[in-house]
């Protein structure tokens, strides 16, 4: 399951989608809006997406994770639009028979997402609006 959506993440629903009776565990990554960014206070955030490409890229990353780590299921839900401090940005869930692979695959998905899925954060800080680009603030 890959979703790029404006709505909040329904954690219970995505957990149901990733869990399975043959898996012994689910490792999850939940990204949330921080109240600071490089020392500046953040009031809120908006996220822009190139949706068609983001879905394609996430589907590719999901397939890679399934194949490389032999895990049972991978789900990714990423939000866009306006978000407040504490809101969920992204949920990644991985189910597997063994926890090692689940941890590795979950980390792989978030690492790759941050490199190659077309989503951009704009932070609204005390100093004004700031685009986050890669690891830099512009």
């Amino acid at each position: 399951m890959i979703r790029v959506q404006r709505e909040d993440v329904d954690i219970d629903a995505v957990l149901e989608a990733v869990k399975s009776d043959k898996s012994g565990c689910v490792v999850s990554f939940l990204g949330t809006v921080r109240d600071t960014s490089e020392g500046r206070s953040v009031q809120r955030m908006s996220i822009e997406v190139y949706e068609e490409m983001a879905v394609k890229q996430l589907s590719m990353i999901r397939e890679e994770a399934l194949e490389r780590f032999g895990v049972n299921e991978v789900v990714v839900v990423h939000r866009y639009g306006d978000l407040e401090v504490g809101d969920s940005i992204v949920y990644i869930g991985v189910s597997a028979g063994h926890r090692e692979e689940a941890f590795q695959a979950c980390k792989y998905v978030i690492d790759e997402l941050k490199e190659r899925v077309p989503l951009w954060k704009k932070e609204y800080t005390g100093d004004g609006e700031v685009w986050v680009e890669g690891d830099r603030r512009e």
Binding site: Y50, R116, V117, W131, E133, E138
Partner: protein, 80 residues
């Protein structure tokens, strides 16, 4: 030939456009198109990192752009 070009995030601010249709020579590469656009927009010319995707996929810079392709220009991504 005509190609459709999209801009995202700060590049949308720099160009003042979400997308546009550009007339470019046949046989132009992704790299050539990137240089063409840097020539049109000063602020983009000053950017070291200009990512390009063709039809929703990252492609090598020497890839030839075809009529009707959807080309997207954007800064390094920051989701997650």
């Amino acid at each position: 030939m005509k190609v459709r070009v999209k801009y995202f995030a700060s590049f949308r601010d720099m160009t003042g456009k979400m997308e546009e249709s550009l007339e470019v020579p046949e046989g132009i590469t992704v790299e050539g198109l990137r240089e063409h656009i840097k020539g049109l927009y000063d602020k983009m010319a000053r950017r070291n990192q200009v990512l390009v995707a063709v039809n929703g996929a990252f492609v090598p810079l020497e890839t030839v752009v075809r009529e009707g392709d959807n080309v997207a220009f954007f800064p390094p991504v920051s989701g997650g």
